[in-house]
């Protein structure tokens, strides 16, 4: 393991990857540095570096060791890290995700209300009143790890996970909230569902958002749920 300056560590992941670890604590600042490194490495198109995967506190960089030497990979990474300036991030991209918090779309809303001691309208209001930063994508195609859910709506996971959750389900699992981009098993409490097709393998861009974008949940009725075009994914840019 190579120790680097500023507490950044380069961790070996076999012969074709390494993980650059910025910190062991999740924070927006650390995640900004993570995203900057991933985006910048991608932009610089360095021969031999094949792919970058940003996570909460680090970036896993994949490379072909027959094309680029490890030392050079480390050098290129260090160059990018040193070029980082605080506040250099561009505009904020917010994806507007319509969510129906009612009826069959919210099978666990009652249990969340019971756990939190809040009314359904209050849970809906709190859940949809802030923008969530996408820290990283992983676990499933397009599954976004979101930061910053209000503590008042925290709810433990289900005792036994469901074997199948419909695509588009929006859930709460402990301190986290998120959208299931495709049907899968899962243990989060489901408080709503979006009619949008978040993930589509055949689409030009299978997943519309990336780490660093924001998600805003917009409450809709059951009637609206039926009417919304699943492909009509809206995104706004804010300062």
């Amino acid at each position: 393991m190579t120790e680097k300056t500023n507490g950044v560590r380069f961790l070996p992941c076999g012969d074709s990857a390494l993980t650059v670890e910025f910190s062991k604590e999740i924070s927006e600042e650390t995640n900004r540095r993570v995203r900057y490194l991933a985006a910048e490495l991608e932009r610089r198109k360095i021969r031999g570096i094949t792919e970058c995967v940003p996570a909460f506190c680090g970036v896993t960089v994949y490379f072909n060791p027959l094309v680029i030497k490890m030392r050079k990979v480390e050098k290129k990474i260090s160059d990018v890290i040193n070029s980082y300036k605080e506040g250099s991030e561009g505009k904020k991209r917010v994806f507007l995700i319509p969510v129906c918090y009612d009826g069959i779309y919210a099978p666990d809303m009652d249990s969340v209300c019971a756990i939190t001691g809040l009314s359904k309208s209050r849970v809906t209001e709190i859940h949809s009143s802030r923008d969530y930063l996408i820290y990283m994508l992983g676990f499933l195609p397009g599954f976004a790890y979101l930061g910053g859910m209000d503590e008042r709506i925290e709810a433990c996971r289900l005792e036994s996970p469901r074997t199948l959750i419909p695509a588009g389900s929006v859930g709460i699992g402990g301190k986290q909230t998120g959208i299931y981009p495709l049907a899968s098993p899962g243990g989060w409490r489901l408080i709503g569902r979006t009619p949008l097709k978040i993930y589509d393998a055949s689409r030009n861009e299978p997943i519309p958002y990336k780490a660093g974008d924001y998600i805003r949940f917009c409450p809709i009725s059951e009637e609206e749920f039926e009417k919304i075009d699943p492909e009509d994914i809206k995104c706004v840019t804010e300062e």
Binding site: M1, L11, P12, C13, G14, D15, S16, A17, L18, T19, E21, K24, I26, A38, G48, T50, E51, C52, V53, P54, A55, F56, C57, G58, V59, T60, Y62, F63, N64, P65, L66, V67, M70, M136, L137, G138, F139, L140, P141, G142, F143, Y145, L182, A201, S202, P206, I207, K210, A211
Partner: protein, 345 residues
């Protein structure tokens, strides 16, 4: 391509010799009909690049070396799509003249009831039946057909992602009656008869995997690391294309194995809370929250791809330099093979 692809800049492009022009004359005409699908057969190539940051696994052949040899034997680009067959192979009927080759686990291939060799190219004619049986040793065999499959790539790859049901043949494992569309093969005679029996590897029931410690080896105690490197594990039957699970002694951690989720490389040896290792393979999750004690080197991944349940596994420490040297050696073997074939008929 996961490894950045083959780099063979100065050699004739063999794929152009056998592949059809952009538009086949009679699209959809050429087909390979599957009359028996085998236990688990999927279309795979070298996997997808550039989508891991969106949470999409690279996928691709489990034993990439065998896949490349199969393609080279039929004159395809080394990373073209092939059939990956698990434990038992397919029976397939051809409706056109093609060149085929089977590599990897020996599934006793036959054409029209007559035994053929593994690691060699054969011409098949319309009506011919290729029949593969059960693997004699090893786990996975690869069938390449000249010209490759006429299957549209999804996110730049033909690989089947079974979990998310996309890519390959309708996003699923093959069934009886499936008709795999083939690209037209032109210039078949240019391929000629090709042999690569020397590239066949033996798949033992006891394997040693060389690993580079890390990324999270520092989360384990001295005792835990010593357990990991000194004990013998066995491949569990719960293994699949996502990961190969091992049974055996638990590797002791200092303060638990939960980490803040980060990227999972090919060959990562994850230690979940149960304490026994899982080697992450082609269809692995892109990120995960368990500590990874070590990473299997690329040159040894074929061993785990070919390891059946019950195979005994040991881990041996190696370093980056050795791993790259072995990788380069493997690449040279492939290049040499392409080179030799391009000058002989």
């Amino acid at each position: 391509m996961r490894d950045g692809g083959m780099t063979v800049p100065n050699l004739p492009n063999l794929s152009n010799l056998s592949k059809s022009p952009e538009k086949p004359e009679k699209p959809g005409k050429l087909k390979m009909k599957i009359t028996a699908p085998g236990a688990l057969t999927t279309v795979q190539d070298a996997g997808r690049t550039g989508y891991m940051s969106k949470g999409i696994s690279p996928g691709g052949a489990m034993d990439v070396f065998s896949m490349k040899i199969a393609n080279i034997l039929v004159g395809n680009s080394p990373c073209d799509g092939v059939l990956e067959m698990t434990l038992t192979g397919v029976t397939a009927e051809f409706s056109s003249t093609e060149v085929i080759a089977v590599t990897g686990a020996d599934m006793q291939p036959e054409i029209n009831g007559k035994k053929i060799k593994m690691y060699a190219s054969y011409e098949v004619s319309p009506g011919d039946v290729l029949k593969l049986g059960a693997a004699q040793s090893g786990m996975r065999a690869y069938l390449a057909v000249s010209g490759g499959f006429d299957i549209p790539p999804v996110m730049g790859s033909m690989s089947t992602n079974l979990k998310c049901a996309f890519g390959g043949y309708n996003g699923r494992a093959l069934k009886r009656g499936d008709e795999i569309p083939l690209r037209q093969s032109v210039g078949l005679t240019l391929v000629g008869k090709r042999h690569a029996e020397g590239e066949a590897r033996s798949y033992d029931d006891s394997i040693t995997l060389r690993v580079i410690p890390g990324p999270q080896d520092d989360l384990f105690t001295e005792k835990g690391l010593s357990t990991f490197f000194s004990s013998e594990y066995t491949v569990s039957s719960k293994s699949d294309r996502m990961g190969v699970r091992l049974d055996g002694e638990k590797a002791e951690s200092k303060n638990g194995v939960d980490i803040i989720s980060d990227g999972i490389a090919l060959g990562s040896v994850q230690i979940p809370s149960a304490g026994t290792p899982i080697i992450m393979t082609a269809d692995r999750q892109t990120t995960g929250g368990y500590a990874k004690i070590a990473t299997v080197i690329g040159a040894d991944m074929y061993k785990i791809a070919q390891a059946r349940p019950g195979t005994r596994v040991r881990f041996e420490k190696t370093d980056f330099k050795t791993a790259v040297k072995l990788k380069r050696k493997e690449e040279r073997r492939l290049k040499l093979l392409i080179y030799n074939f391009s000058f002989s008929k």
